[in-house]
């Protein structure tokens, strides 16, 4: 007979633990099932001594277990103590592998260790870290096998087998090889999955014999040895038969299985295939499966305090109590600005009634959406954003109207009214705002940051569809025919499709018969021609522009090849319906023809200078295609004075965010290691407090609420983010000269170990000196003009200037 409880809580992270604690405090029958032999595995696996932050600071904590900013150890100790004090019924090493609805009501939870437990309610708080992939062979749980490495310098003189081929495996192997004898085991015959720098590092280490590599190999068994000098033995299946290695330690870095498959297996549905999608849950955290609740990071709340509050609340809800959600006061403060505000619930209802787009989302999603968003009540005539700003927030109109300036010269405006939205273009393309928007009368807007909006788009299919439709219509209007009405464009819109391309994919080839036109919506393309057997890049087409119109304008065949420079998305416009549109609107034909002539001239100029195309190809190969602004150094001008780095350090608290010397060079064009302010910054992807933003001029910067988790450092493919302490203040030039105080201008950095207690390392990166009126200090401090910053649109002109 399986044991029976009222509430089973799966996962003892901050969410699950706080739920269990509340249940215990209330004296309810409960069980807390945790896969690992300790509580809160995600926090347990933080680096030793890590300082954990309690963002968002304004949110009150509401949980029977303590939590405030402090060291990982202090927090974990506090939780262990609370679990004991409250007599939480925790079962360790109970990894839940299946949750089924039991025939007699309630749920049946199967655990990996063979036990089964039944419960009336299930609270799932398994986080997003997923389960670490183990070796998958006998011996995977031996003490000499580990799945994490805190400090590589802790080991020396050992024989260590590292299993895996990703960034973590490579970084560990390379670091360990300084003091140990390291063998790396790779299932495949290459390290293509890793970042470029890591791939180079490991290949070099293997070539130099510092690391031995078994390719096409997989572990078969690990045995503990009791005699001899080595602790164990590992047997590998290799392409040439079995191999045996005597080992001190095995470190497996095989990544984690995303928890999604397991959650779906429990019957919970996800709204879309997008990996960013989170399951839809009610305001009481209940999923589509009645009685199954979801809290914490899995439900889309990536911070500890939020997870803990939800754990508390979910138990109250299950017990049928009404609680005011912890975020109620925050929402109240948010809404205070809204004219006619009375209660939060009423304001939320009003928003859902007025803004069609938001009608489809759950109350919980709406609350979260509003927590992240800002209510804005601009005065009539106030600028909400300007054309060419780089901001990427999304606006919904709750009341009143706004004016979109479609044609600045003619002062032509169109009005958007209550219920409509705007700002979706920059959100999707990562590019500058395409028009200025001014506030109209009685305007109440919701401004939502990029991350929250993207998460909502990924989670709610209806929202994605609605936004895409409007996007296509508006992009047609703004790019081709501002004078056309929605009706006139209806045919083209109906025949339009969204298409995705991977980097390097061909949209169409030179010589093909053209039957469509592509408007780039995300990413960028290159246009190239085959000249003398060589593919020569003629131009670069950033998001917001179109290709393929030439074939529709008379020439029947494609005159050049279009390729995705990076992962891209286009709106494919059907040729027939587009031709009809052109026939109906004569100015459109003229407009297209004049643009066509300009392009042909530019292409001819490039063709006359085929080596220019090589420079563009080189830059694109460095990932410059996704940049909005990239630092280039002309090595034939650079006198290696490092003034650029000094300037960066001096204006940014002592740490230079650029490494001049590192990076590839082609024809004297050097791409140093420095932020490119990507269109869709990878660093923003996984930042728990959403601390990374884009400023109106395009600078991607990190705000002060960074919690130092290091995700962005790992996610940036160009290695330009560092973790650093805040430095002490520098003395002024005069003070230094006369009093010898501190370190002088451009002098070696401060002692980075010197920092106030409780201070943490935070992420630092290039912010293009957005706070300096003159612009980037690196560029302005280069005595010879070798350092410049340009955007990819300027590549063709740049390539031509360098003959």
């Amino acid at each position: 007979m399986a044991e029976r409880f009222k509430i089973a809580i799966v996962g003892s992270g901050p969410g699950g633990l706080s739920a269990a604690a509340r249940a215990a405090e209330r004296g309810e029958s409960h069980v807390l099932l945790e896969a690992e032999p300790h509580l809160s595995n995600t926090i347990f696996r933080y680096q030793k001594g890590k300082f954990v932050m309690d963002e968002p600071g304004i949110l009150p904590l509401r949980a029977p277990v303590p939590f405030k900013a402090g060291s990982r150890e202090a927090i974990l100790d506090g939780w262990d103590e609370a679990a004991k004090r409250l007599k939480i019924n925790v079962r360790h090493k109970h990894e839940v592998s299946a949750i089924k609805q039991a025939s007699g009501g309630g749920f049946e939870l199967k655990c990996g260790n063979g036990q089964t437990i039944t419960a009336d309610f299930v609270v799932m708080g398994i986080g997003l870290q997923g389960n670490i992939r183990k070796l998958g062979c006998p011996g995977e749980d031996l003490p000499c096998v580990q799945y994490q490495l805190d400090d590589p310098d802790e080991y020396s003189g050992e024989t260590i087998v590292v299993v895996g081929a990703g960034d973590a495996a490579i970084e560990n192997a390379v670091a360990l090889a300084r003091q140990n004898n390291v063998v790396i085991v790779n299932r495949k015959d290459e390290f293509a999955r890793a970042k470029k720098g890591n791939e180079q590092a490991i290949l070099k280490a293997i070539e130099d014999g510092r690391i031995e590599c078994y390719y096409n190999s997989a572990p078969e068994r690990v045995d503990a040895l009791s005699v001899g000098r080595k602790k164990g033995r590992m047997i590998l299946n290799t392409a040439n038969g079995k191999a045996q290695i005597l080992i001190d330690r095995v470190i497996a870095r095989l990544g984690a299985t995303a928890p999604r498959a397991f959650v779906e297996g429990c019957g919970v549905t996800f709204p879309s295939k997008d990996p960013a999608a989170v399951p839809a849950i009610s305001a009481q955290y209940e999923s589509n499966v009645k009685g199954l609740y979801i809290v914490g990071a899995l439900g889309g709340y990536p911070l500890i305090k939020q997870a803990m509050n939800q754990g508390y609340e979910v138990i109250e809800y299950i017990l049928g109590h009404k609680v005011e959600p912890a975020d109620e006061p925050l929402l109240k403060a948010r809404f205070a600005k809204m004219p006619g505000f009375r209660t939060v619930d009423e304001a939320l209802a009003r928003i859902q009634k007025n803004v069609r787009l938001l009608a489809a989302i759950t109350p919980l999603q709406l609350r979260e959406f509003m927590l992240d968003s800002d209510i804005r009540t601009p005065k009539p005539g106030e600028t909400i954003f300007s054309r060419n700003d780089y901001t990427n927030t999304f606006f919904s109109i709750v009341e009143g109207e706004v004016q979109v300036v479609v044609d600045e010269a003619a002062n032509k405006r169109i009005a958007l009214r209550r219920g409509e939205f705007f700002g979706e273009m920059s959100l999707i393309s990562g590019r500058r705002r395409s028009a200025t928007v001014l506030a109209g009368a009685n305007c109440v807007l919701i401004e939502t940051p990029r991350r929250s909006m993207n998460r909502l788009i990924a989670s709610v299919e209806a929202i994605k569809r609605a936004i895409d439709e409007v996007f296509i219509l508006r992009v047609l209007q703004s790019r081709f025919a501002p004078e056309a009405s929605a009706d006139q464009l209806a045919d083209v819109v109906a025949a339009a499709r969204l298409e995705r391309f991977k980097a390097g994919d061909v949209l169409f080839n030179e010589g093909e018969v053209g039957d469509c036109l592509h408007l780039v919506r995300v990413g960028s393309l290159t246009i190239s021609r085959n000249i003398g057997g060589k593919d020569v890049v003629l131009s670069y087409v950033p998001a917001g522009n179109y290709v393929g119109e030439m074939a529709l304008m008379g020439e029947s065949r494609r005159s050049a090849t279009a390729r995705a420079a990076i992962a891209s998305e286009t709106v494919r416009l059907d040729g027939e319906s587009f031709k009809k549109l052109v026939n109906r609107i004569p100015v459109l034909r003229l407009r297209l023809q004049s643009e066509y002539r300009q392009r042909t001239a530019a292409n001819l100029a490039m063709q006359a200078l085929p080596s220019g195309g090589d420079v563009i190809s080189f830059l694109l190969a460095q990932g410059a295609g996704e940049a909005t602004d990239i630092l280039l150094i002309d090595e034939s001008l650079c006198v290696r004075c490092d003034n650029c780095e000094k300037a960066c350090a001096e204006t940014h608290g002592g740490t230079s965010r650029l490494d001049r010397e590192a990076g590839p060079t082609f024809a004297s064009v050097h791409v140093p290691t420095s932020c490119r302010h990507c269109e869709h910054p990878h660093c923003m992807k996984d930042c728990p407090p959403d601390a990374i933003h884009r400023a109106p001029n395009g600078e991607v910067f990190i705000a002060d609420n960074c919690i130092g988790c290091g995700n962005c450092e790992r996610n940036c493919p160009y290695g330009v983010i560092h973790m650093a302490y805040k430095p002490p203040k520098k003395p002024g030039l005069i003070q230094w000269l006369l009093l010898g105080r501190g370190s002088g201008p451009g002098e070696a950095p401060y002692d980075s170990h010197e920092h106030a207690a409780g201070e943490i390392k935070k992420a630092v990166k290039c912010d293009m000196c957005k706070d300096l009126s003159g612009g980037p200090a690196c560029v302005r401090s280069c005595p010879t003009g070798a350092a410049i910053r340009i955007s990819p649109e300027e590549f063709p002109a740049y390539a031509q200037s360098r003959r």
Binding site: D208, L632, D634, E635, S636, L637, C638, V639, R640, C641, N643, K646, A647, E650, T651, E661, A662, P664, T665, S668, L733, P745, G746, C769, L772, S773, G774, A777, V779, R780, S781, C782, P783, T784, G785, A786, I788, I790, E794, A797, Y798, S801, R802
Partner: protein, 298 residues
């Protein structure tokens, strides 16, 4: 986009400096001081003041260079102006002094100024020429990467030598200890590293070995001591190892030469500033002395 300090902003400062020079020349030719032209005339004072202000402004370049957060233009613009206006000083001061020189503080200041300016010319020359040389020499490796590789070769060479003979080991070790890249100003500028010597001894050892493969010599200088060993008992395997070792050390020599040259280029791009800047301070002092003395003792 990328253009040199000379062509910056379509050589805007060349035109400004030329205009300034032309204006001074015209004034000099039109103005009749009623005596020999010199610094004490009305025009002399004017030109002298212009010159002194220019010098002060040229010195401020060093200050601007270190005001990293400054928003007064770009350093490149400043340098372009520095070069052209600095050059025009020669003419302006010549006209100011009315081409009169003597063994006095005034002429001393003038000579100092010429030194500063001509060292500046040299600086411009290296700034325009050396970056390319450096890029070509490096072949897109970084200096640290080259140094790492040198260190690695050293390791491998030692390991190889260890397997051959203790004496060879000693030679290699000594060569490693003698490899000094960088160092004092002179070594930096000479671009030399020490691996030639080791390579020479190894080659000699190799040659000796081949020549005297079957000769017994006991009275050899120590450098060839291991040849006895090789000739006497060496197996072919050791000969191979020797060859591999020579290859390694040759490669290291190639690399080390590159690093040394890299350092040399960098030194060339920096060293002239050690003349330019101190002399410019000396100039400033001399200039003050000149002005003060002209006022008190003319």
């Amino acid at each position: 986009m990328h253009d040199s300090i000379l062509t910056y902003a379509r050589s805007r400062y060349l035109w400004i400096a030329s205009a300034l020079s032309a204006a001074s020349l015209i004034a000099y030719n039109l103005y009749d001081p009623g005596g020999p032209p010199n610094g004490g005339t009305w025009l002399g004072y004017t030109l002298g003041t212009i010159g002194a202000l220019l010098i002060v402004w040229l010195m401020l370049f060093g200050m601007r260079k270190r005001r990293y957060g400054s928003h007064t233009g770009t350093l490149r613009g400043w340098l372009s102006a520095h070069i052209y206006l600095g050059t025009s000083l020669i003419l302006i001061v010549l006209l100011h002094a009315g081409f009169q020189f003597g063994w006095n503080i005034h002429t001393f200041a003038f000579v100092l100024m010429l030194f500063v300016i001509f060292s500046g010319f040299f600086g411009v020359y290296v700034y325009l020429r050396y970056p390319n040389l450096m890029t070509r020499n490096r072949e897109s490796a970084t200096r640290d990467a080259m140094l790492d590789e040198v260190a690695e070769i050293d390791q491998n060479a030692l390991a190889l030598a260890d397997g051959i003979d203790p004496k060879i080991h000693a030679i290699v070790l000594r060569s490693i200890q003698n490899t000094r890249l960088g160092g004092g100003v002179w070594t930096q500028l000479r671009a030399h590293d020490g691996s030639d010597i080791a390579l020479d001894s190894l080659h000699a050892a190799m040659a000796e070995r081949d020549k005297r493969a079957d000769m017994k010599t006991t009275e050899m200088p120590t450098m060839f001591a291991m040849v006895d060993f090789l000739a006497g008992r060496a197996t072919d395997k050791q000969g191979e190892a020797m060859r591999a070792l020579i290859d390694l050390i040759s490669r290291k020599k190639g690399l080390a030469t590159k690093v040394a040259r890299d350092i040399q280029y960098q030194a060339m791009m920096e060293i002239w500033l050690y003349i330019h800047v101190p002399l410019s301070f000396a100039l400033l002092a001399a200039l003050i002395a000149h002005i003060v003395s002209s006022f008190f003792y003319w």
